[in-house]
Symmetry: C2
Subunit: 221 residues, 2 copies
DNA sequence: TACAATTTTTAGATGAGTCTAAAAATATTT
DNA sequence: AAATATTTTTAGACTCATCTAAAAATTGTA
């Protein structure tokens, strides 16, 4: 397959992410926001990506990835998440440090390297933030999960992912000792500020703000 | 420290390599050859690198790296060779496959990553081709070595490196079962074509061509 | 439906890195 | 030393990715 520039690859990822969030064509402005660039630059790039058959693009109508573009974007996400696992599992970085390095590593071109890395890591299905790692064919493992904020008192489950990937949030979770795999039960929910009291085990209890509870993914028991 | 483009980094490596080969300023043409580009493009880039304080450059006089340029080039070589070790030791690639991937990986920007990788690999002093890996301060381990072609009959030693890094040569060495660490002794040298007969152990003998003997580094016993 | 607000595209410019062709400087021969 | 060959630089053009400002299209509202 042809090679594309890192910039082109980053646009594909941005479009993928936006299409994933909402199931409709990504707008020029939304892409500009995601890429931290001007709408004019985006329009330029969209023309080029369409030219190369990576996106469906009609002026003023927004864009969607083509089969080819989707394959490429999925491959990038696969590489990004595998490298994150490597950095955490093998090089012992913490989950708030791995993203920036993976942003660079995802652009390394070598199908064989990705395959070997995957094998070396034991073919992980999820990355350090709980996001699914697509397999070589591009298939994501689906997992039934809900926001912690959607749980009712008495319901319990295990923390399986984060919605907010910012180092600030991840470091906060470290501080309050919440990590992937932690089991919890909703003890009480306060209507006043929509915060919740959770039980970790039988004795350890904590109150989480609305904001925190909206950024944690839980798999219910 | 500032960041430089991959292109700029590759020019620095090329200049480093040329200055290493011969201890005099690298010429525009030599750099063009090393970079597979035109002399005109090189002149352009030299102006820019000089502007950034990475090289000493006088028109028509060739170039040498500044302290700053040398530090950067050494850092790139460190990263390149560490990644080669990783690819071979951890991902089980062969020594003829690792270079091209390392050419990409050497541009990943993250001092902390290099440090962790070095530690993870056990702070190796040499890469899969026997080339020394500079430490974090930029110091290369020096090793007394000679070309196999410089050995006389009766002399013995161990294979510690290759001069030719091409996959073709490395694969040929695999085929005749010569790898780093192999011990050998010169049994006979033929003046006719400057080939040599070597003994690997007491019974296994082989004849190596002049070309092969000029591309193997030996550490004498 | 018409006017206003927002979004998107176009136009024109810039810098990095590249090219070819031509001019200038340096090195080699005779 | 002069002529010739080689190397290096300059000049001008191209692509990619970006910008700002202005024009055009779409969407929202009165
Ligand atoms: Mn990430
Ligand atoms: Mn992640
Ligand atoms: Mn190499
Ligand atoms: Mn090497």
């Amino acid at each position: 397959m042809e090679n594309f520039s890192q910039t082109e690859e980053n646009y594909l990822k941005a479009i993928f992410k936006l299409s994933e969030r909402e199931d409709k064509p990504a707008s020029t402005n939304a892409i500009a926001g995601e890429m931290s660039t001007s709408a004019a630059s985006v329009t330029d790039m969209l023309r080029r990506l369409a030219e190369k058959g990576l996106i469906h693009y009609e002026k003023y109508r927004g864009v969607a990835l083509t089969e080819k573009g989707n394959k490429l974007a999925t491959g990038l996400i696969r590489k990004h998440r595998l490298w994150e696992v490597f950095l955490l599992e093998k090089l012992r970085f913490s989950w708030d440090e791995v993203h920036d390095m993976a942003e660079q590593l995802e652009h390394i071109q070598s199908p064989e390297l990705v395959e070997r890395l995957d094998e070396y890591l034991g073919r992980p299905k999820f990355d350090p933030h709980g996001d699914p790692i697509p397999d070589a064919a591009g298939n994501f493992t689906f997992r039934k999960q809900v926001f912690l904020s959607a749980l009712n008192p008495g319901e319990a489950g295990v923390v399986v992912g984060v919605n907010d990937h910012s180092p600030a949030f991840l470091q906060y979770l470290d501080r309050i000792e919440i990590k992937l795999g932690v089991q919890l039960r909703i003890a009480e929910r306060f209507d006043y500020d929509e915060s919740v009291r959770i039980m970790l085990g039988e004795t350890n209890e904590q109150v989480l703000s609305k904001k925190v509870s909206q950024n944690l993914f839980i798999q219910k028991f």
